[in-house]
């Protein structure tokens, strides 16, 4: 299987349309236009004692002004906060004030023209109307514009703080979960109930017929369990110790499987003192026994080799089984656990490989030799 990175897949990946989001925000903000018109009419009523008969006309005029100022202001404010609030968080207030002043001026001017066009104001009074409306427009625009902007800024800050908090909580929970899972899976991988009960059954069968062998098996089971329970996942043990455990394990399994399990250990004595991760070789052997010996009527021959090549140690378990697919091995236990452990102990220098060579499956672990 070749490795092909799936990238730039135009069918699956797409570019965003940023305009779309703030266009919606802009439209949503448009309720402010009639609201301002109402507010301005109220101001006229209170401060200029406008007659009630003029209220309708005043409202239409205010509505035109607030539309002429409000729509571009809202547009510009959305745009400045979208573009500059992250880049210039402090300066953005100045941008906002400047753009509000500009839109207020231009909007009042445009509003005046519109009022003339619809004949609410006579043509010759344009500048009079402009100068009377301008201060009100400036005050109202700045007041509303800055209030809304600061409110939106606060809301955004609050939202992003909430998101950050939630992300942190999720990460914390994930870390806790990982820790608990690691502890549980290491316990499970140390004491395999299926193996334990089958071995007890073999011992029970041997007691009357071959008490000597039953006694031997109890001893081997005890040393295997003790080693498994004491094995610290993060420290290394001499290869001789690991090999003793592997031998005990294979002898126990031979009792169960009889002639179906044949094995051979070819590790030179010179490697006895090298440091290896505990239960690494054992995991590979167990994998072969579980997937090949136990699954086939004819059983299998397992060969264990070890060698040192310069600074690297390589331990191999070779069986004459049909091999196994990735889908059939459970990544939770055995090999998956071992792979994660090698990563933890040696980083990328620790490797787990499974290959087919000459109709044999070769599972190997390799890692740097400790000086």
């Amino acid at each position: 299987m070749t490795y092909v990175p799936a990238q730039n897949d135009s069918d699956l990946c797409a570019k965003p349309e940023p305009t779309r989001n703030w266009a919606i925000a802009f439209l949503k903000g448009m309720w402010i236009v009639p609201a301002i018109a109402v507010a301005v009419v109220m101001l006229f009523l209170v401060f200029e004692h406008t007659r009630l008969s003029d209220v309708g006309l005043k409202f239409i005029a205010s509505l035109i002004y607030s539309a002429c100022i409000g729509i571009p202001s809202s547009f510009v404010l959305n745009w400045t906060s979208h573009r500059y609030s992250v880049r210039f968080p402090r300066l953005v207030v100045l941008f906002d004030v400047a753009s509000l002043l500009a839109t207020a001026t231009a909007g009042t001017f445009a509003g005046g023209i519109v009022l003339q066009l619809v004949r609410i104001e006579p043509r010759n009074r344009f500048w009079l109307e402009f100068w009377s409306a301008y201060p009100i427009a400036l005050i109202v625009t700045l007041a509303f514009g800055l209030t809304i902007t600061s409110f939106e800024t606060m809301r955004h800050k609050l939202q992003s703080a909430t998101i950050q908090l939630r992300t942190r909580q999720v990460e914390q929970e994930r870390a806790n979960k990982l820790l608990a899972e690691a502890q549980l899976s290491s316990l499970e991988s140390r004491i395999h109930p299926h193996f334990l009960f089958n071995t007890l059954n073999s011992i029970a069968a041997l007691i009357p017929s071959d008490p000597k062998r039953a006694e031997d098996t109890v001893g081997k089971l005890a040393s295997l369990l003790r080693f498994s329970l004491n094995a610290n996942q993060n420290s290394l043990v001499p290869l001789s110790q690991e090999l003793k455990i592997v031998r005990d394990y294979l002898e126990i399994e031979s009792t169960r499987f009889g002639p179906r399990l044949r094995y051979q250990i070819d590790v030179p004595d010179t490697l006895a003192d090298i440091k290896v991760p505990p239960l690494a070789l054992q995991t590979l052997v167990e994998n072969s026994v579980k997937h090949v010996v136990a699954e086939r009527t004819e059983g299998a021959t397992i060969r264990i080799t070890g060698n040192r090549d310069g600074g690297r140690i390589s331990l191999k378990v070779i069986d004459d089984g049909p091999g196994f697919s990735l889908a059939s091995i459970s990544p939770e236990h055995g090999l998956g656990n071992l792979s994660a452990r090698l990563q933890l102990l040696f980083g990328d220098a620790g490797q787990l490989d499974v290959i087919r060579v000459d109709a044999r499956t070769v599972a190997s672990v390799s890692f740097p030799a400790e000086s």
Binding site: M1, A6, C13, N21, N198, N201, A205, T297, L326, L335
Partner: protein
Amino acid sequence: MDTAPLRAYLVDDEPLAIERLQRLLAAFPSIQIAGSANDPARAIEFLNSDPAAIDVLFLDIQMPGMNGFEMLSRLARQPFVIFTTAYDQRALRAFETNAIDYLLKPIDTDQLQRALGKLGRLRPVAVPVWQQSPDLPAMLRDLAASLQRGQSGYPQRIASRVGERISFLPLDDVTHFLAHDKLTYAVVNGKSHCVDQTIVELERRLDPAKFLRIHRAALVNVDWVHEVNSWFAGKVVLTLKDAQHTQLTVARDRVSTVKQRLGI
């Protein structure tokens, strides 16, 4: 009253397990051992050659070639079955839900006595209710398949193969799976890793609370979804939390399911 001993046949791939069961059964005069086999294929041959030759079958679950359920599904006639197993949580759950008789290895004499007592009351030997069901073949096939699926529960890691090297990716780190040119990739931090399963298999196998099918060729880890953007005409795009801010399009017909699952 019929006092002829019940004829028992024992199937277990481990010779010592057969030896022990034979010895335990020898203490019961109501049982006569008609034979035993270490190989399920041999047992089928024997049992099918003379279906009326035995009354009760002691059958191991985990055996090479085929498991106990599969072997039973290939028998011409159903004898009264008592399963034996050392430890298999899936099988035990199946036994409990279907009221199937079983013995746990190493077998305890009291346990055996209880099972045989029940059998003695059923003379002339009738098979239990679950073995009389018309759905038995389908049920046995399901049980056999469920054992082959391996570990219960959802996996936490997935195996990936690069050349000859197998690596295991923690599923928490996988942001999404993509199918591309008949291959499936697990994407971790923007890097694609080839996996053996198809998107459909992954969807079935992985925790549905975590992995969500958003597209014919994409399965996303909901924990990694950063935001959901709706565009014109109902098009929905997910942005992930990875460093690349990967964006994935949700297929039109999956939009409502995806929105519901993400709580929007």
